[in-house]
Structure formats: structure tokens, C-alpha cells
Symmetry: C2
Subunit: 360 residues, 2 copies
Amino acid sequence: MTVTMHDVAVRAGVSIKTVSNVVNGYPHIRPETRERVEEAIEHLGYRLNTTARNLRTRRTDMITLAVPELSLPYFAELADSVIRSAEEHRLTVLIEQTSASRDREVEVLSGKRRHLTDGLIFSPLELGQDDIDLFSVEFPLVVLGERVFDAPADHVTMNNVAAAKAATLHLAALGRKRIAVVGAHEGEQVGSAALRTAGYLQGLEEAGLPYDPELVGEAGLWHRSTGAETMARMLDAGIEIDAVFALNDAMALGALHALHARRIDVPGDVALIGFDDIDDVKYSAPTISSVDPGREQIARTAVDLLVERIASMNGRGYRRVVPDSRIMGRESTGDVPTGAAEKVVAVQPGGIEDVRVAVA
Amino acid sequence: MTVTMHDVAVRAGVSIKTVSNVVNGYPHIRPETRERVEEAIEHLGYRLNTTARNLRTRRTDMITLAVPELSLPYFAELADSVIRSAEEHRLTVLIEQTSASRDREVEVLSGKRRHLTDGLIFSPLELGQDDIDLFSVEFPLVVLGERVFDAPADHVTMNNVAAAKAATLHLAALGRKRIAVVGAHEGEQVGSAALRTAGYLQGLEEAGLPYDPELVGEAGLWHRSTGAETMARMLDAGIEIDAVFALNDAMALGALHALHARRIDVPGDVALIGFDDIDDVKYSAPTISSVDPGREQIARTAVDLLVERIASMNGRGYRRVVPDSRIMGRESTGDVPTGAAEKVVAVQPGGIEDVRVAVA
DNA sequence: CCGCCACAGTACATCGTTGTAGAACATCGT
DNA sequence: ACGATGTTCTACAACGATGTACTGTGGCGG
């Protein structure tokens, strides 16, 4: 039925191992032997059985990327970047959608699929600091995001507080005094929402603006729809604003939609800035300023760290990497005239940190 | 080192096979035996080695989805839908990005990875009717899209011509006479561009409008950026238009961007309709009318067909499935007032067809 | 001419699981 | 009491590749 190395070996008149050697590019093989084997492979239509190889070598050359949802543009673009980076290491990426479900996230860490891939890049959305024990797994792991710090794993995160502060200051620098937030999570201590909101507060303080709780709009999931709903709710409640900081770009697009529906001019009446710098915001009307958290760099770093970790599971201590982030000025904050391209208006430097993790 | 079934078996005082039976839910096991085995599994932290099982059972419960790029929203949303549908069959999806590269597409079909997954859902972008021979592969395959017809494989496509015609007629019904196309591929006979352009021509004819070649704008890759460039080029050339049919939504967003940059009102001066009905167009300003090609249904059908094909490789002839498609009216064609939700303004019925394929 | 090393290739065990065949025992209807 | 049937479990041989250890060559320096 299926053609195996054995069949190839018989036809070429060599041992199975020699076929294996040819397939794997082992150097010490006589050219004519190699040719005979290759002819046999060609003639029989032989394909290496990856599964068998995986079993024997205990490697699959696959890694898992676990993200909430691909329909969120940020994660789709992140996945794209991770896949491209992985390709350079000849790795295949298995994408696991956790659908913002706690159970699914726990399952991903539980390692049910442990033997299927060589390591995991995990961007949690539900698990938090309290679940830190779940992160001490015995397979290579790189954590993304800002829900869990000091887990026994390499960690690639962003400059959330500093970048959010810079974004807020950017709005304040336009002379805006009533800066709304879209996407806060009340009561949360960890995660993007908490950190970015903290940055917002720092920004207000530095700009000498008062903090008004009614300017902080809640939104559970960070989708376009929730951004639109939150913005609509605030506007319809008669809350006065002259600027909006949406904690991610999907919500910024939703907020813009809600503003537009009420014929509120952006940036004339209300300035708007988002976070993530996804491709969408470069083509909305107006184009939306955003924080570029260094997505490309995040993806590449995550893959690099994971590859290192796979190579030597106990090689070294854990690292925390924070890429540089930048504020991209566009039409929605009046940084460029209508129809012009974006420009970088501020940079927050990142860095690499070695993390000492207490061993249980 | 790693815990195997053998270790579990020893601790539970049973044979390896009994452990296997417990793990796989084989019914005839004494409750106390099952308990002992489960205790041992728990105590030793045993995890099933998926790779070994895959080798033995000759199944991986994984399928491949090959798409051009996840950063294109349509494919990100398609991937999301496919993953969800696959989950219902307990299948894991491996996503392969072909990056619009012919070589990568050929490689996907060549089955280099054949033994890694049980089947393939393939959405080609470069391969066409001339490459039809490449599609006669010996593994389960479902083809998506409209570049290849009558390949020896199940095929899920869309109502391209009819839907494009309906979109064109929808613009004409608004009284628009100079309807531009964004995204044509000159000289191509197959593929979405050719079919949708054909539908456009049919629409013009039925509406009694003349065909003017300068209204047909070329765009190679269907990204936001190319849509914006194409639209800008046409506008700057002084071509007069009062409506635009963008052959996909990404380009519609780009076109809208270009129109906005030139302070052209949509839909006042120019009406706009796209194709794909991705989430973005529901939140742009204005919201963009679009053709919903039935993406959910495409994903589900593709997975279902693949699952059937995996179950019985030579079960039956091939099928071609065309989901119903619908025109979703939004602000950009004045179907709803600003701020209102979308509404369905037309439906083109799909269908299932059994395809007879000549055997070589 | 001997010892050493690089080259070319082979035999065999092994990775961790599951399918097959069948053994041992209990239950049941007649 | 006896075969038939069902339950519970086991032994063994695969699945298809690769790592290890080993056998012969031939070339080369001394």
C-alpha cells in the first residue's frame, strides 16, 4: 500500500539505513549509490513518513501558537508573523484557538498535546497571576502578553504602561482635556486593560489633567462591536469628551464608527488613538493613530526564545523581553493632513531582562 | 524520563494493553482495574504520546488548511471558521501559509507533509486550470475558491458571477451610471477576478449601461493598500465615476480610504460595494455594503466533505457545493441611514452538484 | 608493510502505542 | 452438566523510521 523505506531499499539494493541516510543528507554516500536510491524514491513515489520519524527522533519540528481568536486582527497578524519567523527555523506552527475560554487555556498548558509539538507560544487572555502554578510545565514555553509575570518561562511582553502614558500625553498635547478610555476592565489588576489604564492615569497626572471616572468606559471583549457599544453608551449618556484612547485598535475602529454615526468629527471634535497598530487603522477614514507595540519583534523574539529553549531545556534562566514601542501619528490626532502617510511621533524603548524565578 | 504506558502498567499491575484500553475508553474493564490504572496515570503524570499513536493508527486527527495569508482578513476569518468546524469533529487544524507563492502551492499539493495530517483544505491563489493535474493526489482533498474547476476533488466555491452581477445591479438600481471596478486581473480566465468581472459585465448589460474599459481598475494582490492605490490612480486620472464595485472588501476599505482622502462623499458622490462581508466593513465610516459569499457555510461544508472523504477515500464521486450568497446593504449604498444596522437586500441561491470527473 | 583513520554501508534494537488473537473465567439457557 | 456467549485481560507483533555499534574497504604516513 504505502511505500516505505524498505521498498525503496529493496529496489535500490541497499539497506534501509542507507535510504534513510540519503533522505537525511548524510554526507558519506557514494554518488552512484545515492543516485540509485533517488531513482528508486522517484520511481516508487516514496514519501517520508513524518510521524514515524517524529516518534523515533522525539522531535516534531512543530510548535504550537495558542491565541484567543484569529478573527481578531491583532492575533491574525501576530500569527502571520510567528509563522513567518518559524519558517526561518524550519518549524511548522500549529495554531490553537482558545476562544477566550479559561478551560481551553488550562488545557493548552496541561500538555494534553504535549508530544505533538516541540514547544508552545502562549498568549493567555483568561489566566492570570493567580494561575501562575499552571505555568510551570515541563516543556518549552514562551509566554506572551501581560497577564502573567514571573512565571517560570521566557516572556515577551510590551511596554504597556509607558506606551499608554505616551498615548495619553499625545492627546493631551493637542490641548484635549476630556480624554475618554474605551475598554477598561474594572477591578482587574493584571492584563492589558489594567496596565494601559494605569498608563492613562499616569498620563493624565503628568499632563495635569483631573481624573474623572465617568470618562473610563468598560468593555469586556476587545472587539470592534464592543468598542462601538461602549463609545455609543458614553456618548448617549451625554458624557462630554474631546478625545478617546481606545485600548486596542479593534475598539478604536468601533469607537470611530459610533462617533461617525453621531456625526462627530474626528479629529475636529474628538481626537482618537488606538493600540496595536493593526493594518486596518491605516485605511480607516480618518486613519487612526495607534501605539505600535512592536508586533513583528514580539513574534520573532518569541520564536527565537522558544527555539533556544527547545535546544536546551535547562540552558539558562528566564528572560523577559520588551520590544521598543512607538506612537504612530495619523489623521485621527491631526498628526498628518488628510491623505498623508503616518509618522512616528514618539518611541518608548524596550529591553531585555533576566528574571530570577524562585524554585518551588 | 518520559512516563510511558509501560510505567503505568507496572504501577497498576496490569498489562500495557489494559492501560491503552482504559485511556481509549474501552468498555469491558472492571471498575477497580480502571481505578487502579487511573490512579497510576495521575500519580505518574502520564501523558499519552500522540506521535506513537499516530504512527500505529495511521491517523493524526489533524487536517491542513492552506491559505495565502492570515493577514488578509477574509482568510483569517475563514481560518477561524474552519478551526471551529473542525473542533466539532475533534480535528486539529494545521495552517499552511502559501504567501501567494506558486512554489509553495505546488509543495502543498505534492504531499511532502502527507503523513502529518489526514487531509487538506486548499485555497489556491496562483495555481489555475492549467495545473489541474497537480490536484489528482492520493490523499483526501477539498478545494476552495474559483481558480480550479473539475479537479478530481470535492470543491466548495461561491456564486461569483451571479453575486457580482447582483452587486452591480444593486449599484445601477441607485441610478448610478459610471460604475468602476477595483481589482480586475486583465487577461485572466480563471479565478475570482475574472468571474466577478464577468458578473459585473453581465450586470451592466442587464441594466442597459455601456461598458467603458477605463472604468475597470487593475489590482494584483487584493490588499487594502492595492485597493487604495488603484482607486487613487483612477481618481487622479480624472476618470468620472459615481459608484465602485471593489472585488473584495480589503480593497473596498482601501478604495474608501482613497475616496475619503479626496473628500469625495460616500455614498453621496460615489456609492461603494465590496465582496466577502468581512467584519471590518461593518464598522468603517460609512459602513460598506458587501456580498456575503456564505463564509461560515463554506468552512463548515469544506470540513464536512473532508471528513467524509477521510472516512472513505473512494466513497463516491466528487461534489461541488455553492453556498447561498447575499447582498448586505449598508450605508455605502444608502440602504440604511447612518448608524443603522445592515440589511439583506438580495439572495442568490447556491446548490450542490455531483461532478463527474474523467479518469485518466 | 603496519597501524591508523576516513569512508561506505549494514544489522539490530528501539521510539510508544494499538490491532489481533486468544486465554481464563463467569454466566446462562436448556 | 455442557456448549454458547460475554467479560476481562494478556502476549506479541506490528506501525516506519533512526541511533548505535559494527564490518569492511582503501589511502596514507612512517
